[in-house]
Symmetry: C2
Subunit: 461 residues, 2 copies
Amino acid sequence: MSKSEPEKGTQSPLCVVNHREHQCISKRAASMRRGLAGLGKKQHALNPYNKETNREGIVGLAIAENTLTHDVIAKKLSMIQSTFRLSVEILKNADAAGSKQFRETLAAFLTKYGGAVKPLNPDNLIIVNGGGSAVSMLSTVLCDPGDAFLIPTPFYSGIEPDCGRLAQVELVHADLTSQSGIGIQPFQLTVNTLEEGLLKAKKQGFIVRGIFLINPNNPLGDVYSKDLVMDCLIFAKSHKLHVIMDEIYMLSVFKEDVHFTSVMALEHLPDPDRTHMIWGFSKDFCMSGLRCACIYSWNDQVASSLKTIAEFHSVPTYLQSLLNEMILDKEWVTQIYIKLNHQRLKEFHSYMCKGLKDIGIKILEKPSGLFVWADFRQFINPSTFEGEFNLYNEFLDNKVYLLPGEGLFCCEPGWFRIIFSVSKDEIDQALERIATVINKRRSKEYIQSAISEISSINPKT
Amino acid sequence: MSKSEPEKGTQSPLCVVNHREHQCISKRAASMRRGLAGLGKKQHALNPYNKETNREGIVGLAIAENTLTHDVIAKKLSMIQSTFRLSVEILKNADAAGSKQFRETLAAFLTKYGGAVKPLNPDNLIIVNGGGSAVSMLSTVLCDPGDAFLIPTPFYSGIEPDCGRLAQVELVHADLTSQSGIGIQPFQLTVNTLEEGLLKAKKQGFIVRGIFLINPNNPLGDVYSKDLVMDCLIFAKSHKLHVIMDEIYMLSVFKEDVHFTSVMALEHLPDPDRTHMIWGFSKDFCMSGLRCACIYSWNDQVASSLKTIAEFHSVPTYLQSLLNEMILDKEWVTQIYIKLNHQRLKEFHSYMCKGLKDIGIKILEKPSGLFVWADFRQFINPSTFEGEFNLYNEFLDNKVYLLPGEGLFCCEPGWFRIIFSVSKDEIDQALERIATVINKRRSKEYIQSAISEISSINPKT
């Protein structure tokens, strides 16, 4: 999603006052909590690392933002801007779901880059101000308050407030773990896991309306196989569940030999009336600040319902026009931008992976996204979320801000998501600081294991 | 509000299917109806009048959009754009409630043009993508689903879906009528009317959380006196009610001798914790398509709660930067733009008023807004909303699209809101078409009254 990481877990001061009569805000507003990432986010915002001006500041590798091709995008938009004729049309009342022109261009763009078997219909495409809004709108239209979506964990945790804050929709978890088996990789999504999650959710009394899938996955970096995508859709159909396929990282698959299968590319959608897709410019085009994403629904009724609330999440005509120009330049998109972005993502991913391995951190190497899923379990003591939180805080104290697995609803303590789409200097600084913490823990561990060894020899000491 | 008029009254096809199992959308989505204005809006969209290319098309005077200074704004934005350095900062993840810089500039702008007694605090200002979003956000934060705001009628009816669609907040009416009395003008707001409305709402079982006031008023064009604003705020305080002061037409008061009192300009706010203000660029700066408005709340807790949902309604950093530049040029704003806008609004208002009077239509002449409130009661037969709807349809058949009072929740049939901020050619065309309908009705009335006269002489015929 194109936004800062949400905050979870910590109690907001808003929640202290419980009685409506003592406060000026609604009960629902009072229940909107902030969270775990909040602590680091605030500290980082107050004291961000800067190579020139603040070398003692905190290096932030927690927010999934791609800065690697900022230069290319800024240059391209500057060029468009310089020849852009600002007509009065841009000032006029517009279609809240997006201008006809931009919807047509974007539908063609998605058809091409999503490998759609059939051209997308611009009438079923809704332009919205960011991925978070897209999730919120689909939640509103597909669910009533209290209904739920099933989602595999770990997942980009912003989806929770995106479903919950306005739409009041719950998320129920299908937990993936590090356990592997025959033909099963650690944290691999299977239909079996979805089935177990659904059963559990129903037992808990949830009315589950759909499944939320992130492909390519955040935080795992997984790219689902075509078979897996189909299996999930068939499973969903068998339970009359909607599927929201969040493909916000669609163009951030950086390994040449990995084939990404968009839901648009399937020859046959098992249940088109219950299939919906999200994409945006924030990640794949490095423009979190420009707030432009979209929803595609194969269901006309859903598309039409989304349009009745589109005004609340609309994108300025002006920005639509700029982006329209940008993606109309197919040669630039294909030959220059995407190539360069993949090349840089691949390079920085390798650089980060090598650095972490050199420190002795295991990682799950994956072919997409802006992050690596790193295994710090051997450095967590106790092996609990409390232990994970202590390590998170020790990183923060050592001026590096990473997102712990608990902040991504991972069911297993000891995992962290580390963003690599920053400068090499920032990666170097972060690795050095991570190494300091880890080495301290290693030596502590060494001392402790030495002590416990001595204790076992001389139990009375 | 910076958007097209909502639709009300007619049943959406979505509502036909009532059983959840037969449809793919939620109950709340199915209940989102479209409305009365819809019919004309669709017809107008399919066949809009154009001086050069479609002289037989429908002249639309129903959507409150100011086109009079489009030229000046487009020129100014073009100039800003031509010197604007698009830095990578603009691409980065940003504060969802608005960049610090823009919030500071806009706070200073509102302080100056709202005549604030104390500089507004940028931390209490939230930037949002349009007035509709501002209303929705305040509804969410101040009310729980089912709670209500009290609002004087007639009112800009978009506020109903703005409160209802996402936030599920009701509007209860305090009806203003054409009846005048000692010191009371037709449709004049009084605290008495609010009191009666509140009592009625409570009797009906509504939990009323606040009062929604539009000043300058849409559709009446009224500008409230300082005393009236204060009286309303004191009344609200006595009942512990929030006040949302919608000042979206703040800079569209075009009569020199009329003084507008912003809620910001009051030396002493009776209940600052329950006072909130909305303003935007759509009306006063002729940019409905650019989607930028703001909320100012004097209550820190409310401001902080608004920020937790700001992401869903955020404005691109890029657009914030352009508008920031625009309003930083105070000389242009004060000496060129506002002067010219007032001059043109005044001129076109007079032109429309004269044209309507020449046809024999009475109007309530007011000093602000983009519309006149016109009295067609003598041409309505029967004197009911059905009669009003027939006249609305007859106008549509004659290729002029006006908004009837029922579409603005007026309690009295026979009133229409007519937009004058269009081209003089469009005004001329509309007046001619209105005159055709009215003259037909006059002659019918003449014939009917002649017939009934004859009948009374020869009762057997």
